[in-house]
Amino acid sequence: MTPPIGQTERSTGHSPALSAYCRFVDGLNDRLGWLLGPMIVFVSAAIVYEVVSRGMFRSATTWVNESVVYGSSAVYLLVGGYALLHRRHVRIDLLFGVISPRIARAFDLAVLPFLIAYALALMIAGGQLAWASFLQGEGTGSPWNPRIWPVKACIPLAGLLLALQAFSNLFRDLGLAPSRTEDSDGTGRR
C-alpha cells in the first residue's frame, strides 16, 4: 500500500528520520484502515441476520444490536487518522486557489497546534474515562451488559493516531519528507 519511495531521498532536503517516521505512520494508519474497513460487511450481515431471525422466528437477538453499534463506532473512530492520511476530512478551500504554496504551508503550521489540542484532549480525558470505566467494570446497562471500557479506550487511541498522522502530513507538505505519490483514491468528495 505504501508507495515505493527510497532513492528519491538523496539531495532533496528530506530528513531521513522524518521520512522514516512518515513511512511508519502512513503505513500504520493505512493498514489499520484496510484491516478495519471490511467490518461493514459483518455489520451488514449481522443486521440482515437480525431482521430475518426476528421476522421468521420472532426472536430478537440481544447481542447483535449492541455489538454492531459499538463495534462500528469504534472502527470509524479509529480510522480518523486513516481518513486524514487520504485527506478526506472536509475543509473549506476558500483561499487555497489564490494563495501561494509558501503561505499555504504557513497556514498548515499555524493550525496544527489546534488539531493537536483536540487530539490531546481526546487522549487525556478519554484515557481518564476509559481507565475509570475499567476500574469500575462498567457495563452498558442492557440485559447482555458487556464491559464498555474497550470502546472508551478507543477514544484516546484514535486521538493518538490522528495526531501522528497530522505530523506526517505536515512533514510531507513541508518537503521534509517525500510526498506520497498516490492520488488515485477518488479525490476529494466534498
Partner: protein, 438 residues
C-alpha cells in the same frame, strides 16, 4: 465574560481556523476544547469527550455507513447504465427525451443512493456523450445532470436525513417518507421545463431518428427487465420503513443486501469492486463520524455556556413573526450553503434552529425537508457547488466549469420555486408520513 462576547470569540476562532484550512471536524473540536478549558477548566475536557462517547452508543448512527456502503456497491455495479438505456427506450421519444431520461434515471438512482457525488459522475459518463452526440445544446445537457444529481439529498435513503434526524431528535423513517413527494415534485418540474424548452426550440434537443425511437416492442420489454431488480431494492428499503417493519439501520442492512444481490446478478460483485466499495465507505464514513464528534462537542460547550438559549431567545423575539424567522433560517442556510459543506451547516445550525422553529409552531419533519431542499441548492450553486466539479471531472475538455455553472441557473430557479411551494403548502411533504405504519 458575557455570552455575547463568548459567542463572538467562538465564531471568530472557528471561522479563522476554517479559513486557514483546518478541516471542519477538527476546527469544531479544537474550538470546543479551548473554550471548555477556558470556561470550565479540566472538567470541561471530560464534557467534550463524553459528548463523543454518547454518540458512539447511538444505534441510528450505524445507518450512515450502511447507506454509504449500499451506494458504493451500486455505483460500481453499472445499474445506472441499465436504467438509463431502459428509460431512453421508453421515454426517448418525447421532446428533449435524453435529458428527460437523465432526470428519470437520477430520480430512480436517488431512491437507492443516499450520498451526493456518486450519481453526477456515473450519469455524466453514461448520458453526456449520448446527448452531445445527438447534438443537444451544452446548457441543456449539463444542467439536467447536475440538477438530477442533487435529488439524492431529498429522495430517501438520503444520508442528510439520517444526520438531521439524529441532530433534531425526530424520526428518520418519517423524514424519509416526507422527502418523497417534494422530491418527485421537483423532478416533475425539471422534466416539464426540459420538455417545454425542447418543444419551443427543437434545435436545442434534436429528436431521435425514427429507427432509434421505434425499437421493436420485444426489445423494449427486454430492457424493462433491467429495472426489475433496482425497483425491488427500492421497494424493500422504503417499503419496510414505510410499513414500520424496519428501523432505518435495519433498512440500511436490507439495502446493502439488495445492492449486493443486484450487483451479483450483473456479475459485478467481484473482489476489486467489493474492496473499492469498502475503502470508499470507510473514508467517507470516518469523515462523517468525526465531523459529528467535533460539532457535537462544539454545540455541547456552546449550549452549556448559554449560547444556544441566547440565540433561541433572540430568534423567538424576532419582530417579523414566525414566518419571518423561518424565511431568515432559509436565507442563512442558502448563504452558508454557498461556502460550507452541508454536514457542517446541519450539525452546527440544526441544534439551534430546530427547537426555535418547533417552539414557533413549525413541524420539525417539514423543516428537515426544507433543509434538504436548501442543501440541494448549495449542491449546484456557484461558486463552489460540488455537482459542477464532479461533472467537470468526466466532461470532455472543451466544456469549461463556467459552461456548467451557466447551465445551472434555470434549475436553481426551479429549486427555489419548489422550496417556496413546500413552504406555502407543508402538506405536500407531510401527508405521506401521516399515513405510515408504526
Amino acid at each position: 465574560m458575557s455570552i455575547e462576547i463568548i459567542s463572538l470569540l467562538m465564531a471568530v476562532s472557528f471561522v479563522g481556523l476554517l479559513v486557514l484550512g483546518l478541516p471542519l471536524a477538527f476546527a469544531a473540536g479544537a474550538v470546543a476544547v479551548i473554550f471548555a478549558l477556558a470556561l470550565y477548566g479540566p472538567p470541561g475536557l471530560v464534557l467534550v469527550v463524553s459528548r463523543v462517547f454518547t454518540l458512539l452508543g447511538n444505534s441510528v448512527l450505524v445507518a450512515v455507513p450502511l447507506f454509504v456502503f449500499m451506494a458504493c456497491i451500486l455505483e460500481r455495479s453499472g445499474i445506472a447504465e441499465d436504467i438509463f438505456s431502459a428509460v431512453t427506450a421508453w421515454a426517448g421519444g418525447v421532446p428533449g427525451g435524453l435529458a428527460v431520461a437523465v432526470i428519470i434515471t437520477s430520480t430512480l438512482m436517488a431512491a437507492m443512493v443516499g450520498v451526493l457525488g456518486a450519481e453526477v459522475v456515473t450519469i455524466g459518463i453514461v448520458a453526456l456523450p449520448a446527448m452531445l452526440a445527438r447534438g443537444y445544446r451544452k446548457d441543456l445537457a449539463l444542467g439536467c445532470i447536475c440538477a438530477g444529481g442533487g435529488l439524492s439529498t431529498l429522495i430517501p435513503p438520503s444520508v442528510v436525513f439520517i444526520l438531521y434526524g439524529l441532530t433534531a431528535g425526530v424520526s428518520i423513517g418519517q423524514l424519509y417518507i416526507a422527502g418523497i413527494m417534494p422530491g418527485l415534485l421537483l423532478a416533475s418540474l425539471y422534466i416539464a421545463y426540459i420538455v417545454i424548452r425542447a418543444k419551443l426550440n427543437p434545435a436545442l434537443a434534436p429528436r431521435a431518428s425514427a429507427r432509434e425511437s421505434n425499437l421493436p416492442i420485444a426489445q423494449k420489454l427486454a430492457l424493462l427487465r433491467n429495472l426489475a431488480l433496482p425497483s425491488l431494492v427500492v421497494f424493500a428499503v422504503l417499503g419496510s420503513l414505510y410499513l414500520g417493519w424496519a428501523t432505518p439501520t435495519e433498512a440500511g442492512g436490507i439495502g446493502v443486501a439488495g445492492a449486493a444481490l443486484a450487483a451479483l446478478a450483473k456479475r459485478q460483485l467481484d473482489w476489486t469492486n467489493i474492496r473499492q466499495a469498502i475503502t470508499e465507505t470507510t473514508r467517507t464514513t470516518a469523515m462523517l463520524y468525526w465531523l459529528f464528534f467535533g460539532s457535537s462537542a462544539l454545540i455541547g460547550v456552546y449550549t452549556l455556556a448559554g449560547g444556544t438559549t441566547m440565540i433561541q431567545d433572540f430568534l423567538t423575539a424576532f419582530p417579523l413573526g414566525p414566518m419571518g424567522v423561518l424565511l431568515m433560517i432559509q436565507a442563512i442556510w442558502i448563504v452558508l450553503g454557498a461556502f460550507i459543506d452541508w454536514i457542517g451547516i446541519l450539525l452546527l445550525t440544526a441544534p439551534i434552529f430546530v427547537p426555535v422553529a418547533t417552539k414557533l409552531g413549525f413541524d420539525p419533519i417539514w423543516l428537515g425537508v426544507l433543509f434538504c431542499m436548501n442543501m440541494q441548492i448549495s449542491y449546484i450553486s456557484p461558486p463552489f457547488g460540488p455537482a459542477a466539479f464532479y461533472l467537470k471531472g468526466v466532461t470532455p475538455p472543451e466544456i469549461s466549469l463556467t459552461d456548467i455553472f451557466v447551465s445551472i441557473w434555470p434549475y436553481l430557479g426551479l429549486q427555489l420555486l419548489t422550496l417556496a411551494i413546500i413552504i406555502t403548502f407543508p402538506q405536500i411533504a407531510l401527508w405521506l408520513p401521516a399515513t405510515m405504519g408504526n
